[in-house]
Symmetry: C2
Subunit: 144 residues, 2 copies
DNA sequence: GTTATTTCGGATAAAAATATCCTATTTATA
DNA sequence: TATAAATAGGATATTTTTATCCGAAATAAC
């Protein structure tokens, strides 16, 4: 559904959020370990999220990644997916047609519209706080 | 959402179905032209669908691809997607966890479950006949 | 039978996604 | 100020996906 890069980006964001919630900044190394992702590749993705101002970074000793506490609940999954994979998952045509709308629909246009809209709604209505709290309480997991 | 290969496979199957409906067998070249796909790559995908017994092929002059008329309405999109991309789109974890179930859910497990189930239902309940008829009547399109 | 047409299948190429490596820069602490 | 720790970013490597090429096999028509 999503690219590997996007999966890592989502997991990393959730992990950072769950720590920022406690005022803890986390390092690249720690993140990669906790979400079970390749370190250097994860670095690229985090840089991308920083550039998109979804997370913030602090260089140097005792540096790392964090999310301002007040922002955790307002960051939606859609922002992360959009920054990494773009919006084609829920805005593009299911069969890859360049033009596909009500006037010139692909064969599965109607069938996909429902699903794509639901996916979009879900991503736009799920924020990092909800997910981070479940991680903190041990209800959900970021690896294995 | 789907791989290019899968998109081509779906479009090709729909095109073949719409012609088989009229008893017309179609060639690789014609298919690739009508669905706007690379010829040789499409050949590989069609071979794959033949091996999976979703479509059938006839070698030699006046040969081509076809679907037995009686089968058109019983072939589901899920069979085509499954043959080409596997079932990870609607059975795999949204964040790529190897293990992800009710007992050990990823952070977005519940949110994704709904969508993946809907996608699965849609693919399992949409058959080639419905889609082929829309193509024949000019209600939907396979390219542009 | 010969020929033209067409799918089949193996080998190869090109492009994109994933992953690694190394150096530069920044920053806290000793 | 020197050192260690950490992100930033460029270059490169590997793997997967997408795409092309070519000869073999099959088949209908002549």
């Amino acid at each position: 559904m999503f690219s590997k890069a996007c999966e890592y980006g989502l997991k990393a964001s959730i992990y950072i959020a769950s720590n920022s919630y406690d005022g803890k900044r986390v390092s690249l190394k720690e993140i990669a370990k906790k979400i079970d992702s390749p370190v250097a590749f994860t670095a690229k993705i985090l840089q991308d999220l920083v550039r998109h101002k979804i997370i913030s970074s602090v260089k140097g000793a005792y540096g790392g990644f964090e999310i301002a506490k007040k922002d955790i609940s307002s960051i939606k999954l859609s922002q992360i997916v959009n920054a990494i994979d773009g919006d084609s998952i829920y805005n593009g045509c299911g069969l890859g047609l360049h033009v596909c709308d009500e006037n010139h629909p692909c064969p599965v246009h109607d069938q996909f519209k429902t699903i794509r809209n639901q996916l979009k709604d879900m991503l736009e209505n799920t924020n990092l706080e909800q997910l981070a709290l479940d991680i903190k309480s041990g209800v959900s997991f970021l690896k294995l």
